[in-house]
Every structure is written in C-alpha cells, then in structure tokens.
C-alpha cells in the first residue's frame, strides 16, 4: 500500500512514493539517496536527523511518510549549499573546528539554519536554545556555538 506524495525537496518538485508507515528519515536516505541526514538515536532525542519541514526544524526519525501532505517543503543538508560553494554555516563550522566525527553536524547545521531563517540576529542564549535538541559527543558545543555566532556576525543572508 504505497502512497504518492508531491513534495518540494531542496527546492525541486519531486513525486515521492513510499509506504505511509516508513520513517521520513528512511525515505530521504534510502529512496531519495539523500544520505547527508544521519540517524542517531532514532527516537527524537539527539537531533542528528534534523531537517527543515515547512520552515520548522523537526526530527525526521519520528515523522512517518503518511504524515506528509502534497506541497510540503523539505530542506536537508544537501539543499543549503551552492553548487561549488559551501553554505556560510558550513564554512564557519569548518573554520571553527565545530565538526569532529561529523555525525551530528548536518542536524546541527539544519537547526541553526532554521533559527537564522527566522531570526537573523539571535543572541548567544537563543543560539544555545536552538541547538539544545542536537547532541554532540565530540566538541563540547563551544565551537559549534562560536561557528553559528560568526555566521551571525558575518551578516550573510541565509
């Protein structure tokens, strides 16, 4: 009993076919080969699978395909960079050493991306709150928060 849903994925219209009980995370990784989105805990605790759905950051491991509607817009880590250029958030993560093993990085960047889209000038506290649902076992968070802050200071349009 597969279902067709017309989605907008990283700015492109895509007709996606999947079983309604399949996790959005698996639809992205397996069906659409968008493997930038990672699985961490698989139960909405760690934020590694964070994507942006209709402008809001969500955990793709606890959304099932059937919950989506025609016209829903999904942005994954693959959708934020230019063809040959990193997105400013990615560039600052790189320069600040905000990524080590890399598993949390796509989710972390998508949480920061959703924040900056809504609030281009967040305070340090607001940045911390925005990534509070994204766990990182390597960096101790300081460099991640610094990277996002630098992106804010650099004044680039997200």
């Amino acid at each position: 009993m597969e279902k067709n849903i017309a989605l907008i994925i990283n700015g492109k219209k895509r007709k996606v076919k999947a079983h309604p009980a399949e996790r959005l995370l698996d639809v992205l990784r397996e069906n659409l080969k968008l493997t930038g989105t990672k699985e961490g805990c698989g139960e909405g605790e760690c934020g590694a699978c964070s994507i942006v759905l209709n402008g809001e950051v969500v955990n793709s491991c606890i959304i099932i395909f059937g919950q989506l509607d025609n016209g829903d817009e999904i942005t994954t880590i693959e959708g934020i960079a230019g063809k040959k250029k990193l997105h400013p958030l990615q560039q600052h993560f790189l320069e600040c050493g905000a990524s080590q093993c890399g598993i949390c990085t796509p989710g972390m960047i998508m949480a920061a991306y959703a924040l900056l889209k809504k609030n281009p000038k967040p305070t340090r506290e607001e940045i911390k709150e925005a990534v509070a649902g994204n766990l990182c076992r390597c960096t101790g968070y300081t460099k991640i928060i610094e990277a996002i802050e630098k992106c804010v200071i650099s004044n680039v349009k997200i």
């Binding site: 079983h19 139960e43 909405g44 950051v57 606890i62 099932i64 709150e129």
Partner: protein, 283 residues
C-alpha cells in the same frame, strides 16, 4: 496496514466509531512513533491535518486550545502568554525545538505520562478537556481525566478535541517548575505548577499540581486545604512544605528517588510561597 488520513473531525470520528477501523490516533507522533518503535499498528488514524483543532480561541472567561495546537504555537501565542503564561513556560520545556514543532497539547494530555509537562499547569488552572464522539461532546475537568497509570476517561470512540482554560482572576499568579537532569530533552524528576491568589499575605485561593510524583499527574488537596485562608509566615510555609512531602507518594526509578522527589517538591512549594509572600502588596 491501513492508513486513514483524515481531513476533518467528523471523518476521523467516523473512522473510530467503526470497531473494524478503530486504530490508534496519530497527531504529531513525537511520543507515539517512539513508543511503536518500528512495530507499527495494523492501522493508523492520522488526524494531523484536521485544521479545526489547530485554533487558539479567546472567549469571555476562558481560553480554548485545540488539541492539535503544537507546543511551539503555544509558546508564540499572545493569548496564552497573557492568560496562562505558566503554560508557555511548560511548553518551552517540552523536549527541544524539534519536538515542540511537532508535538501537540492534546497528545501531551492523552499520552497520560505521569511526567508530562503541560498537564500539571492545566490541572492547577482547573482546565477542562472536551471529549468528542459522533454522539456529541462532553466536558470533564482534567482532574477527573486520569484514572490510573496511563489510563484515561477517554472512550474508544472519542477524540480529545480541546482544552478549556479559565482566564485568571484578579490578583492571581501562577508559576511552573520543572526539575530535570538538564534543561532540554529531559524528562522531569519533579514537575509542578502552583496557582494562587494571595492578598495581604493571606492565601485566598491555591492550587498545587504535580507530575512525576504519582502514577498520574495529581493535585495536592490536603496541602491546598491546609494553606487556604492562612496568613503566610515562615512557620506556615514550613508546615506547608512538610504537608506536601507527606501528601505525595513518589517512587524510586531511573530518573530519581522517592526521597529526593519529596524534598524537591517541598522546596518548590516553599520557594513559590516565599516569593509570592515577598511580592504580596503589604509584605
């Protein structure tokens, strides 16, 4: 597997009215999908698209919040910020932003976790829940909704459609407290809301509701009764702390111990009364 994607309330009520298709209701899914853990039910009744349950409406004496309003929407709501700011504080502590963007207040109520963040606030505010079936609607106080551990008064053919919160009376104040291991993504050791009217140091009205200290979210009627009409002073506050520690019956579990929970709940009540006492006009 059968998947019902319901467009409106009547459609959803029709699906669960029929025993053959009485499958679990799915809203945001932040609790349910985790509980299913990949072992999906035979059918799902997805009510996530029922727009009529996504409204926050102001009436003369109450605020009505649709069951499908997300925690994130409540945090941003001017109406709730003004008339029930303790609920905004509670919604801010649910999971993290990713969960607040999907999880709904109705889901938080019917999930019936004794550690739910919003039910203590709603219970302290004497909120009612609206339960709807094809036969009609009924309203019951949230206080009567939880029957025992994870058991509610919701009938199999009913959907919790709204929560109705009385607007605050003049002089009323309320505070939400959550004690957990960390700020985000923590399930509480103790979660609590106290609402009161304290004028000239006299407790004219008080409601104390707690989570994570019993099989369901509970009120503390003995301690409320003890405080009612009392003139606050250090002795009375101390007595109230002792009363609450005796009244609640928490357990030891992976998140905390019974002793710690009693101690913390008592301290929170002490803090609330002291803070409110100090703010009380003639203090």
């Amino acid at each position: 597997m059968r998947y019902f994607k319901c467009e409106n309330l009547t459609e959803a009520l029709g699906v669960i009215a029929d025993k053959e298709t009485r499958f679990p209701l799915l809203a945001g899914g932040t609790d349910l999908i985790v509980q299913w853990g990949g072992r999906m039910p035979e059918g799902i009744v997805d009510i996530g698209g029922v727009e009529e349950l996504k409204l926050i409406v102001q009436r003369e004496n109450v605020v009505e919040i649709g069951a499908l309003v997300t925690h994130g929407t409540i945090v941003a709501s001017k109406i709730v910020q003004r008339d029930c700011s303790a609920l905004v504080d509670a919604c801010k502590t649910v999971g993290a932003i990713q969960i607040q963007n999907r999880g709904t207040i109705g889901g938080n109520i019917v999930n019936a976790s004794p550690a739910g963040d919003t039910p203590p606030v709603l219970m302290a505010f004497d909120a009612k829940v609206e339960l709807t079936s094809l036969a009609g609607r009924r309203h019951i106080p949230l206080r009567e909704f939880y029957l025992s551990y994870r058991k509610t008064a919701l009938k199999p053919d009913e959907i919790l459609t709204r929560v109705i919160i009385p607007k605050p009376k003049p002089g009323e104040s309320a505070t939400f407290y959550k004690i957990g291991t960390r700020k985000a993504q923590a399930i509480s050791k103790v979660v609590m809301c106290v609402r009161s009217i304290i004028q000239n140091e006299i407790v004219e009205d008080i409601a104390i509701a707690l989570g994570s200290v019993a099989p369901t979210v509970v009120r503390a009627p003995k301690t409320e009764k003890f405080l009612m009409g009392k003139k606050l002073n250090e002795n009375i506050i101390d007595e109230a702390r002792k009363s609450l520690a005796e009244e609640i019956k928490p357990i030891d579990d992976i998140r905390s111990t019974a002793d710690y929970r009693k101690f913390v709940a008592a301290n929170l009540l002490g803090r609330y009364l002291t803070d409110t006492f100090l703010r009380s006009p003639s203090a």
